[in-house]
């Protein structure tokens, strides 16, 4: 579905893009076919496509989905329309620049974009108030501020033995099968996200997964 869309060149019609942005303000009920199709692609897949292949269409999609939200966040924090508009540029530029650093371990795409937007807004306001630049928003909200690695290991200690057993069998899978099983069962990604990450069609992913899991079950001795 996404592939079909990627073939269209949004930039071939810049006016069209502006019109569609403007129409977002008024119509939320009448989804045309294209928009309905677009909403089926997850924010995560779009962001990963921007990071992996500099996919401009995917970036335009993200812009359409988030620019209004970023503007609203900017208005709330700065109460200034000009600054809120500047924030769209600052935040979306940052999304483009940092997209290669995004992966699903960093949480949802919208959470990641929220963090970038809030941080750019914070720095923008500091700059405007001429506050010293010894620290920036990224020092205050480190991007990896989520779970601490040590605590994760604590929680998993009990499962360690079982896991190491499975890991042994894991090596007996073919490389493509192992990559898929890893995405789904270890990194906990959805089929769609894993396919986008590995850059393989969804159907291929599903068949590799089925074969990989069947082989693992066989090796471990679980009844199918």
């Amino acid at each position: 579905m996404y592939r079909n869309y990627a073939k269209q060149d949004v930039f071939s019609n810049e006016v069209g893009l502006t019109v569609r942005l403007a129409s977002m303000n008024t119509s939320t009920t009448s989804l045309d076919t294209e928009e309905a199709e677009d909403s089926a692609v997850s924010d995560e897949s779009l962001l990963i496509a921007v990071g992996n292949t500099q996919d401009i269409n995917a970036f335009n999609q993200l812009f359409e989905r988030f620019s209004k939200k970023i503007f609203a966040l900017g208005m709330k924090l700065t109460r200034n329309e000009q600054l809120a508009n500047d924030l769209i540029q600052e935040a979306m530029l940052n999304v483009w620049q940092k997209a290669p650093l995004y992966d699903l371990d960093k949480g949802s795409a919208k959470g990641w974009i929220f963090t970038l937007s809030r941080n750019r807004c914070f720095d923008m306001l500091r700059k405007q108030k001429r506050q010293p630049s010894t620290i920036s928003a990224d020092d205050i909200w480190p991007l990896e501020s989520g779970a601490e690695p040590a605590s994760v290991h604590d929680d998993m200690a009990g499962q360690q033995v079982e896991l190491s057993l499975i890991e042994g069998y894991f090596d007996q899978l073919s490389d493509p099968q192992r990559a898929v099983v890893e995405q789904i069962y270890i990194k906990d990604r959805t089929h769609e996200e894993a396919a986008a990450y590995l850059q393989i069609p969804l159907g291929t992913l599903k068949s590799r997964l089925r074969l990989g899991v069947a082989k693992l079950r066989n090796l471990i001795g679980v009844d199918q």
């Binding site: 970036f59 620019s67 709330k76 540029q89 500091r126 010894t134 205050i140």
Partner: protein, 235 residues
């Protein structure tokens, strides 16, 4: 690391923090506490998830009309020409000498960064030293060191004071505070902190202290002056 943190920022303060609504000084002290406190990190993550879902909720109150006449196509065209960042920046380690201490401690990263231009310690009274940091125009931010056995004159706060204990401990009428504790004091509290073993704190005041007893009251105009000076240096 102290695993028994007893005092934490309120849920409201954490929420303002993740929404980006706090001034820099307050944001820094909350962030420094979070670096030391696993439970606040978990709580903040939950609050952020909540904030994000109301942010993207089409029916949320947080909606503003984006001027529809703005043409974003040239903005988009220029953005996609910028180079992308392919790898995480290497984190520079900032080391800070706390020369009032006779042992070394590891500061939370955000504080080490904030203090990376160096700390200038000043002895104020009876075994207390302060080093100011200039983070924004609305708060007075300082490291405070209390030498073993020293005592701060009784005072209240006109605004609120957020204090993070970094090393050692201190106590007042309301309790004892240890490393990683996050304490908020405001106009309702009349308190007299003292420290038996010595204590290093980072404190953020959003208005000057007011001494309420004895000769120390004479210092009130000076405190106001100090606050104004500290916060206007940037203006």
């Amino acid at each position: 690391m102290n695993t028994e943190v007893k005092l934490h920022p309120s849920t409201e303060l954490l929420n303002q923090f993740i929404q980006g609504e706090l001034v820099t000084g307050k944001s820094v002290v909350v962030s420094a506490h979070m670096e030391l406190c696993k439970s606040c990190r978990a709580k903040a993550e939950e609050l952020q998830a909540h904030a994000v879902s109301s942010w993207v909720d089409p029916g949320s109150a947080l909606q503003s009309d984006q001027p529809s006449e703005v043409d974003y196509s040239s903005m988009l065209a220029s953005i996609v020409k910028s180079p992308q960042i392919k790898s995480e920046p290497i984190e520079e380690l900032v080391e800070i000498d706390i020369d009032v201490l006779n042992h070394s401690i590891k500061l939370p990263k955000v504080l080490a960064k904030a203090a990376s231009e160096g700390l200038q310690w000043k002895k104020v009274a009876g075994g207390i030293s302060e080093a100011h940091l200039f983070l924004d125009n609305e708060t007075l931010c300082e490291f405070i060191y209390m030498a073993p056995g020293c005592q701060v004159p009784v005072h209240t706060h006109q605004g609120s004071e957020s204090t993070l204990v970094l090393d050692g401990s201190f106590e007042d009428e309301l309790g004892e505070y240890k490393a990683s504790d996050f304490i908020i004091r405001d106009g309702q509290h009349n308190h007299q902190p003292r420290s038996k073993e010595g204590c290093l704190c980072f404190a953020v005041l959003d208005s000057p202290l007011k001494f309420t007893e004895g000769l120390a009251r004479l210092m009130n105009p000076i405190n106001s002056y100090k606050f104004k000076k500290a916060t206007s240096r940037l203006a």
